[in-house]
């Protein structure tokens, strides 16, 4: 067969496929045409907006505000160390249990090249220009003078959108490109090292060791930040830290509550159910507002609670609120463990504690890992609510930028909100991919 014939066959195959899937019935043809128009219009508008209409310099200019807000620059090393710890662990974990190495390295390399080269390219800055104007006020002429700030893009060789592309991973603390390069190096190197360790992936020591590292990561990151007042915890940094602590404690609280719900002791059962139902009855926002406004209305206990720093109070609310939901998820897992497992454990003479830690809980939690990750995603998105109690998280920071830089940011709602959306979306989406992977790897979730 000639090459041409092969190609013709391939084309014919495509056409057949299109006929079978896109144009098989009159209804389907209509659907195809309508959704095609919608898709093309969507794509056209998006691309046009992103490349030609948006003012991305504004986003790039405020990148520090979006990532760490007013975190003191002298203390930046705390954030960097935390980032390195997290990145190392993520990379090694990916290497051991993740997918193939090559596409991962290519993506990391490409992003690193983009960020590192573009960072040396355009730098937007604000230029202050004197502004003098005569205004009429009440028939009397008054000279007012002030400063008019203009956003200026300098460097010039890269368009603003290309620069903004590198923003997602751009440096929170100015041009510390060496550290950024190190971060990308860790991402690549960690995965390579992890791949070497992959043959031990089923080794219990390995499992327990990595598990312990992951569990220790969050306290380590938080302890690192204790030298900086919580007033300076802002933006994405605040969201991430509240989320991490919330997730960490809510898992253990949820575990305890779930055990309480299936406890043989009625008093524990009733208390657990009562707690879970009361917490779930009201929205998180109401609990957060309550925790913010509470003074001494609940007597000395309330007063003691209200004397805790607001950020820590919020973490407590997240932990206890998330715990109530995770308890319900884990309870589902406990119920899915066949009765025979318990009987078998009892018959070989395991104590109750051994039975739970060795037999029942591992199976129960395994069965609901995707659902637990689902709750984590919800908790991550809920960190946006900090904006409603005047903690300056990513969302609130974006509003401050819009409000405070009216001279350069006016009308840039789309750019600013899109970048905030991207920050929330990326982590949320990565978590949901993690959930999907866990679901398929563990072969659970389809019950």
């Amino acid at each position: 067969m000639s090459m041409l014939a092969v190609r013709r066959d391939a084309i014919a195959e495509r056409i057949d496929w299109a006929k079978a899937n896109l144009f098989d019935t009159r209804v389907n043809t209509a659907i195809t045409l309508v959704s095609l128009v919608a898709a093309v219009a969507f794509l056209f508008l998006t691309v046009r907006y992103f490349l030609f209409q948006a003012n991305w310099g504004l986003v790039a200019l405020n990148r520090k505000l979006f990532f760490v807000g007013s975190y003191p620059a002298d203390e930046a090393f705390r954030v960097w160390i935390a980032m390195f710890l997290a990145v190392t662990l993520i990379a090694i974990t990916y290497g051991i249990w993740g997918g193939r190495l090559r596409p991962y390295l290519i993506v990391v390399g490409a992003v690193a090249a983009l960020v590192l080269t573009l960072g040396l390219g355009v730098e937007p800055r604000i230029e202050e220009r004197a502004f003098t104007e005569i205004i009429e006020s009440g028939g009397q002429q008054t000279t007012i003078s002030g400063i008019n700030r203009v956003l200026v893009m300098e460097g010039g060789w890269a368009p603003s959108w290309l620069y903004a592309l590198s923003l997602g991973l751009a440096v929170p603390f100015g041009s510390t490109w060496v550290l950024m390069a190190g971060l990308f190096g860790t991402l690549a190197g960690g995965a390579v090292i992890g791949k070497q360790l992959a043959r031990f992936r089923s080794n219990p020591v390995m499992l327990q060791g990595m598990g312990a590292l992951w569990v220790l990561l969050i306290p380590a990151i938080v302890l690192l930040q204790l030298g900086v007042s919580t007033n300076s915890w802002e933006s994405a940094f605040l969201d991430i830290i509240v989320f991490s602590v919330g997730v960490f404690f809510s898992f253990f609280i949820g575990l305890a509550l779930a055990m309480g719900r299936v406890s043989p002791y009625r008093a524990i059962r009733i208390s657990s159910v009562g707690y879970i139902e009361v917490v779930r009855a009201a929205p998180l926002l109401v609990w957060l507002l309550f925790a913010t406004f509470l003074k001494d209305e609940l007597g000395p206990v309330g007063a003691a609670f209200s004397s805790i720093d607001l950020v820590y109070r919020v973490m407590i609310v997240f932990a206890f609120f998330g715990g109530a939901y995770i308890a319900e998820v884990i309870r589902g897992g406990l119920q899915s463990v066949p009765r025979g497992q318990r009987e078998a454990a009892q018959s070989i003479g395991l104590s109750t504690i051994q039975m739970y830690t060795l037999i029942i809980l591992p199976q129960a939690i395994r069965a609901v890992i995707p659902a637990i990750i689902g709750r984590f995603i919800a908790l991550w998105k809920d960190t946006a609510l900090l904006a409603a109690i005047s903690l300056v998280n990513t969302l609130e920071k974006s509003r401050k930028v819009l409000g405070g830089q009216t001279d350069i940011a006016e009308g840039a709602f789309f750019e600013i909100y899109l970048i905030v959306a991207l920050i929330y979306w990326v982590i949320s989406y990565m978590l949901s991919r993690l959930g999907d992977t866990a679901e398929s790897r563990l072969g659970v979730g389809r019950r």
Partner: protein, 388 residues
């Protein structure tokens, strides 16, 4: 001694009693503490009769507008009404959207399939609060100004002040009596229907329960409508201009900035979750059912509406119940975009008068009651669709 203690400990009922007593006492102490401190503070309800202080007209219906002179308790009730006015429509719209997208995601048409996927992955991974800000301060700002409104003048008007649509207006102050009459008529109709169905079961005679119920309901409705001097009449929206040239919507229902942003974002957000529930439930219907339906010569449409959907419904209702309650709870976020729902009104009262516990207890009760209503309705539907 030691042996005695250990025997006592391992003696099942002793241990159970001990744990029950200790934990029970602790729980009772905590509960007593909460109740006691709530009651110490709750004793004073005088703040409820004070004036609310400033007007809030973000509600869609005029009777839910909070006036400055309204007592605070009325303000809170209207706030609860505003919450419900968002939740009811949001649940309806999100269900429709979710059903459509869920089915689209199972379509064999790859383009439709992908579009559905993009929608779901985008919206369920974004915080609802962000969507609200985005729609309120990004999207709806860019609608035309009220002078240059689009839509059909005098019927359906769109501007950045909101969307004005026809609605009903009370012809006199006692229009709500008709609502009571309708509820009473409905209750009587349901009672009659049940009685007749019971008789039908007993005697085997056809008793036309549904027809009777409908006739009674309509009869009560029409008669009371006339007797109450036509209490509700259709009201078309219009734009009026003041002497100084300011435009404002009047009559009809105004879906203002806060309401419409809340409705759209809640709908889009929960639509994504409902779409996933619908998709999962449809996938869970055994494939044999579809094949059997095809072999019986059903068309695609019949196959879906008569075979697949009823079975999928059984699977999805518990999950939907959960999601609808979340919709109800998450609608509170609308207070950040100046929609006068329960939390906004309550916070303003707390800000002016204090009384945190009383106000928040009210919010709590509102959510318990509304969630109970949702789950009662869903459980009733569930009972009706389950295999009998």
């Amino acid at each position: 001694m030691k042996q005695y203690v250990s025997e006592l400990w391992y003696h099942g009922s002793t241990r159970a009693n001990l744990v029950n007593v200790v934990v029970g006492t602790l729980a009772v102490i905590i509960a007593t503490y909460l109740v006691y401190s709530i009651f110490v503070n709750l004793f004073d309800f005088r703040f409820l009769t004070g004036p609310y202080g400033s007007p809030d007209r973000s509600a869609i219906f005029v009777f839910l507008h909070v006036e400055a002179s309204d007592p605070r308790w009325l303000g809170m009730l209207k706030g609860a009404g505003n919450t419900i006015s968002v939740v009811v429509f949001a649940i309806a719209l999100a269900s429709l959207l979710g059903l459509f997208v869920g089915v689209a995601r199972l379509s064999t048409n790859p383009i439709l399939n992908r579009l559905g996927g993009i929608y779901v992955e985008t919206f369920r991974n974004l915080p609802l609060l962000l969507l609200m800000f985005f729609f309120a301060f990004g999207v709806f700002r860019s609608l035309p100004q009220i002078e240059a409104r689009t839509g059909i003048d005098g019927f359906f008007m769109v501007s950045n002040r909101g969307i004005a649509v026809p609605w009903l207006a009370g012809a006199h102050d006692f229009w709500w009596l008709w609502m009571i009459a309708l509820f009473a008529g409905g209750a009587v109709a349901l009672w009659v229907r049940r009685r007749r169905e019971q008789q039908e079961d007993l005697t085997g005679q056809t008793m036309h329960g549904n027809a009777w119920a409908l006739a009674i309901f309509l009869g009560v409705g029409v008669v009371s409508y006339v007797l109450l001097l036509f209490p509700l009449r259709p009201a078309l929206p219009e734009v009026v201009q003041s002497d100084a040239g300011f435009f404002a919507y009047q009559h009809g229902a105004l879906l203002g900035l806060g309401y419409i942003s809340a409705l759209v974002s809640v709908t889009l957000y929960f639509g994504a979750f409902i779409a996933e529930i619908v998709r999962g439930s449809i996938q869970a219907v055994p494939h044999g059912q579809v094949e059997a339906a095809s072999s019986l010569g059903f068309t695609t449409y019949q196959r879906f509406t008569l075979v697949v959907l009823p079975q999928a419904l059984r699977i999805m209702i518990p999950a939907l119940n959960n999601e609808f309650q979340n919709t109800n709870k998450d609608s509170t976020l609308a207070h950040v975009i100046a929609f006068g729902e329960i939390v906004l009104i309550s916070n303003r009262i707390v800000n002016n008068a204090g009384n945190l516990l009383q106000v928040y207890l009210f919010i709590f009760i509102v959510f318990i009651v509304t969630n109970l209503i949702i789950s009662t309705i869903m459980n009733t539907i569930n009972k009706n669709v389950q295999l009998k």
